[in-house]
Amino acid sequence: MSSPHGSPPPPSTPVRPSFAASVSRIYNLSFGQMLWSRRTVFMVLVVGGPVAVALILRMLVSMDLLDAGGVIDGRPVTIDGPVIFGLMIWGFYLSFSVPLLGVFYGTSLIADEVEDKTITYLFTRPLPRGAVLIGKYLAYLVCAGLLVLPSVMLVFFVVMPLLGGSIGAGFPDLLKDLALLAVGLAVYGALFALVGALFKRSLLTGLVFVFGWEPIVVVLPGYMKRFTVSYYLQGLVPHAMPQDGTVTGLVLQVLQANEILPSATVSLIGLGAILAGGLGLAVWLVQRREYVLEQ
């Protein structure tokens, strides 16, 4: 077919989407996949467990099977709602849920596509490779945040009023905890996105880091502990933790006296550096690396 002037029309040049538009497209695609997958069952179990434990504790208190006073190692201690909530933030979320979700999702951002041999379809689209990783990372962040943060809120409202605790007085701590967990998810996710882009056996590397390296190194003297995420995260926790006269208060006093916890400023700088460094390096790697799929 010719134009009215007799010459064929110029071929339309394909419009390459911008980086932000590419990120948005990948995010939309990945978010749906992540939210409605078998993995969500795992996530629900991980974040639903603390809620179940909180309900059990509430039941124990209502049946008068749990009281506020007690003795641990010969020391009188007071247990109330804020203390139990602090314990749950440490025990469930900071030490377990957040690192585990970071390892699972962070390492699978690229590794899953390689394992399923679908990375070719993503990389042959006219999208920057970095946008693929960033889009998937954002989808992980929103997906994990949407499940973890409501779980923390539920635990807060169930546990905080126990044994004389007050929801109103503890609310600022809840906000700090929510922010802290969001930061934790972001930092662990970025770090393990890098691990996933770098190593073939990324999951094992991630598990070794979270459950092998971090718990051991964080109590060693010297600078070794600065090469962990938990060190910087723990530096931000005390603001939300109950202080004097409680179990956790005593633990914190010991940790701070031994300079095991960093200041809030150092923590924020450290976490920011890991986040930016991890994500930046991961994007750089994904852009340059040739992924050879196993036949």
Partner: protein, 279 residues
């Protein structure tokens, strides 16, 4: 004259005893894993504690001033405690894909179309994981016991603590069988080794976290049976004739461990099938 006789002939090859086919799977699995450099590095790291303790045993045996380093029953108990993290890594590395990868590639049907029963298939897979787990628990512990005798040139320690031989063996078997059965059961539930690995680590650490929170809130360790690891710790203390570290009764821990293994067997029985009948 026919070039090749295509008429019926009896099978002239050798026949293996029925029930020995699992060994083929185990041998192939072990050989395949021994060829991976990363795995060898993990195994070497798992033996790190053995080498450190061997040096300590040597020093305590040869330098009387270092008597404080002399081995005791607690030394062997601590050895197992410190190996727990490597038991986790080896379980995850070796076990997560054992059945999941076969399900993913539909190899299960091929396996079970051979003269191989489902029990033999599971036993073969179990053998791979159990072999490597014993290599990081039972073997170094027994080697340490042997080294103590060699360095001290005396059977005094061994004769004084003769129960250590069965104790080390029994605890290692309990730890290895629990890890192997639960990991295999989880592996049979999924087609993704990654998912299985995280599920196993999740179960292990989640039950530990539940116990830690309830212990903090109730100021009692009566609920130790809730934690997979605490159960093993409790059983280990009893086996090594040490005072149990938790207030919960140790038979409860034994019962939980047996129930978990039983549940794993049921899961394996339901999931390892050549053909899935959808009704």
């Amino acid at each position: 004259m026919p070039i090749h006789d295509q008429s019926y002939r009896r099978y002239a090859g050798s026949r293996n005893e029925p029930g020995s086919a699992w060994l083929v799977i185990t041998k192939a699995g072990i050989r395949s894993l021994l060829g991976r450099k990363l795995f060898l590095a993990v195994m070497l790291a798992a033996w790190g504690q053995f080498f450190v303790r061997a040096v300590i045993f040597y020093l305590s045996a040869n330098f009387p001033t270092l008597d404080v380093l002399a081995p005791s029953v607690e030394t062997f108990r601590q050895f197992f405690e410190m190996q727990e993290i490597f038991v986790l890594f080896v379980t995850v590395y070796v076990g997560s894909g054992l059945i999941a990868n076969d399900r993913r590639s539909n190899a299960l049907q091929i396996y079970l179309s051979k003269p191989l029963s489902r029990t033999e298939y599971v036993a073969g897979k179990l053998g791979i994981l159990a072999f490597f787990l014993l290599m990081v628990t039972l073997v170094p512990a027994l080697a340490l016991l042997l080294l103590e005798v060699m360095f001290s040139a005396s059977l005094a320690f061994l004769s004084e603590h003769l129960f250590l031989l069965p104790a080390v063996t029994l605890y290692a078997l309990a730890e290895v069988l629990l890890a192997s059965f639960t990991m295999l059961a989880l592996s049979s539930l999924s087609t993704s080794a990654r998912y299985t690995a995280v599920l196993y680590a999740g179960v292990l650490f989640f039950t530990g976290a539940v116990f830690a929170i309830l212990r903090g809130a109730t100021r009692s360790s009566m609920l130790a049976w809730l934690s997979l690891r605490a159960n093993l710790d409790q059983i280990g203390d009893v086996i090594f004739r040490l005072p149990p570290r938790f207030e919960s009764p140790w038979p409860a821990s034994v019962l939980v461990v047996l129930l978990l293994m039983g549940l794993s067997v049921v899961v394996l029985d339901r999931r390892v099938r050549g053909v899935e009948v959808v009704t």
